[in-house]
Amino acid sequence: MTIGKSVTLLLIGTAVVVVLMAASVVYGYTDTTWKGVYDSFTAFNGSNEHLVIQTVRIPRALIAACVGASLAMAGVIMQTLMKNPLASPDILGINSGAGFFVVLGLVMFGISGNQSITWLAFIGAGVAQLLVFVLGSAGREGLTPMKMTLAGAAIGAMFSSMTQGFLVFNEAMLDQALFWLAGSVEGRSLDLLLSVLPYLTVGVFGALLIAGKLNVLSMGEDIARGLGLHIGFTKIVASILIVLLAGGAVAVAGPIGFIGIIIPHIARSWIGLDHRWLLPFSGLLGAALLLVSDIAARYMIMPQEVPVGVMTAVIGVPFFIHIARKGEKSR
């Protein structure tokens, strides 16, 4: 893959994301036009259309882009770290860990407010990531990728079943919590995004900084050690980045599945294995996929909306099955 071609792909990706964000602002239940969007910036007149654009649609498009990008990049880092093509924040239980802690806070301790939700999500993601990390490196060999996937599924099942258990305590919260748990970028305020944005930014730039080290790590630990990479340190930094990216994304949008697993695969097949290109490109593709899913979610059962987490599952499951079937052949 030449540098020129990679740059071209990144530019195309950026253009696609920009177009999709614009489309996400324009299309939906309330009819708006491209001109209306333009006017709402240049000549805001307080009309219903302009209000919808400024307070609902634009935050929504921004949130979808940020969350999609974060999840996809977290997926890339995880797959490299675990040497597991099926690793991703949702399959390994990171998302449901964050979800559990947020619901625990909301329902049991009456915690509310953006900052506290953000922190709860980080704590949950951190706990789950720690579990995954310990499980993946315990013993001499650690768990095989296959077993890691299973352990992650078990952790996820445990967290989500406990989440449902706590919802029983507070039925009034159920409806609200359900929509959050399904994963959605609708009705989230810009403030929530802004309170998470610093962490996501650190996550994104941190990921780009350690991209070179991830390249070395992906050659296998023995080679990486031979090349002078401090493996333990790299792994810990990578884990922290995963927590920042996945935890931040969950704090804003709830647990949205499958972005973290399918995007890295698509991105790899287009731009190659070099993490310095792979990470930003995955970010763009992740943003694009979540934007598309979100737009589709508005039209599926109009006038109601499908949670976007359901949409990504619809797109993601066939892909997951494809990888699972293909993975067997190479073994």
Partner: protein, 347 residues
């Protein structure tokens, strides 16, 4: 099929005496848990009173509490636990992987998805169901069966690889969860909270008519599994050995899968998606009586029943006046146990 006919010596259970003794002990445990469940709750009785009431010697109030409120749910817990555990034992034997269980390969999630879909589709605006609730078990069964079929078909690629089966199961579980969420959001809020209980797994609100449906379902399946036990033994050896020994591997595998689906469908229909029982019970049973199907199946069924009854007892006594679904407890114990198993098994 010739193999299932209990004629010309086709039934050979081969249970040794120690296993019989252990199974009897397990049965005694089951009875103790049963009486404890009947005695404990919002209103407490002494074990003796509970015992007398079960046999019809209590006063009318005791009789009402035990027979109208507690017995149905205890029995549903018993049968659902036994059914899920047996399904787990069958699946673990079939895919020769100690990590298989009905919830991991998506059958439970499929059943739950069908139940929520049923509740959402057949509810009118005032939350009333437009068709009889009696169809619900059928919906759960169809959901579990369709998922099992899908998993089996998608995992099929020049034969069945256990690992692929489980991976595809994980994928389909996610798909089914998405369907469930979707249905809960489309449906009215009241149904959503009901469906939420269902997904976690709870025997709250069971009635005698539930018991009358789940009991024969489970018992017939138990008998069928016991009769076909020796084929299950064969399956555990692996395809090459089993074919070499003259077993019709694929045909028997499909039979066992149907049986496992029937068991899961029945359990999910009446008790919801109680997780990890199908995983834990067979392991505990195997440690007690070894992996021979003749002893393993009844021991597994008893342990599964005890586990779910205990989880239900804990759920309705620990956090009074609130009720915690039994599935929360089984998951809280089951998931760590599962991870422990992952470390122990080689390869």
């Amino acid at each position: 099929m010739k193999a299932f006919r209990p004629l010309h010596g086709a039934v050979s259970l081969l249970i040794d005496q120690r296993t019989v003794f252990k199974i009897i002990s397990l049965f005694a445990c089951l009875l103790i848990v049963f009486i404890a469940s009947a005695a404990l709750g919002d209103i407490k009785f002494s074990p003796v009173v509970a015992f007398q009431t079960i046999f019809g010697f209590g006063d009318p109030f005791q009789h009402m509490v035990v027979y109208s409120f507690r017995m149905p749910r205890i029995l549903v817990a018993l049968f659902a636990g036994a059914a899920l555990a047996m399904a787990g034992a069958i699946l673990q034997g079939l895919v020769r992987n100690p990590l298989a269980s009905p919830d991991l390969i998506g059958m439970t999630a499929g059943g739950s998805a069908a139940v929520t879909a049923f509740l959402a589709i057949f509810s009118d605006k005032s939350n009333a169901l437009t068709v009889s609730i009696g169809w619900l078990p059928l919906a759960a069964f169809i959901g579990a069966a369709v998922t099992a079929l899908l998993v089996y078909m998608l995992a099929w690629k020049n034969g069945l690889s256990p690992i692929r089966l489980i991976l595809i199961g994980i994928g389909l579980t996610a798909a089914m969860k998405a369907v469930t969420t979707m249905m809960m959001i489309i449906g009215p809020i009241y149904q959503a909270s009901k469906a939420n209980m269902w997904m976690t797994g709870s025997v709250n609100g069971s009635s005698w008519s539930d018991v009358l449906m789940i009991a024969p379902w489970t018992i017939i399946s138990l008998v069928a599994v016991m009769m076909a036990g020796r084929h299950l033994n064969m399956q555990q050896f692996g395809d090459e050995l089993a074919i070499g020994a003259g077993a019709r591997v694929e045909r028997q595998r499909i039979f066992f899968l149907v049986l496992a689906t029937a068991l899961v469908g029945g359990a999910v229909a009446f008790a919801g998606g109680i997780g990890f029982v199908g995983l834990m019970a067979p392991h505990i049973a195997r440690r007690l009586v070894g992996s021979h199907a003749g002893g393993l199946i009844p021991a597994t069924a008893l342990i599964g029943a005890i586990l779910v009854m205990l989880a239900d007892l804990a759920g309705r006594t620990l956090f009074l006046p609130l009720e915690v679904p039994a599935g929360v407890f089984t998951a809280a114990i089951g998931a760590p146990y599962f991870i422990y198993l992952l470390f122990r098994t080689k390869g």
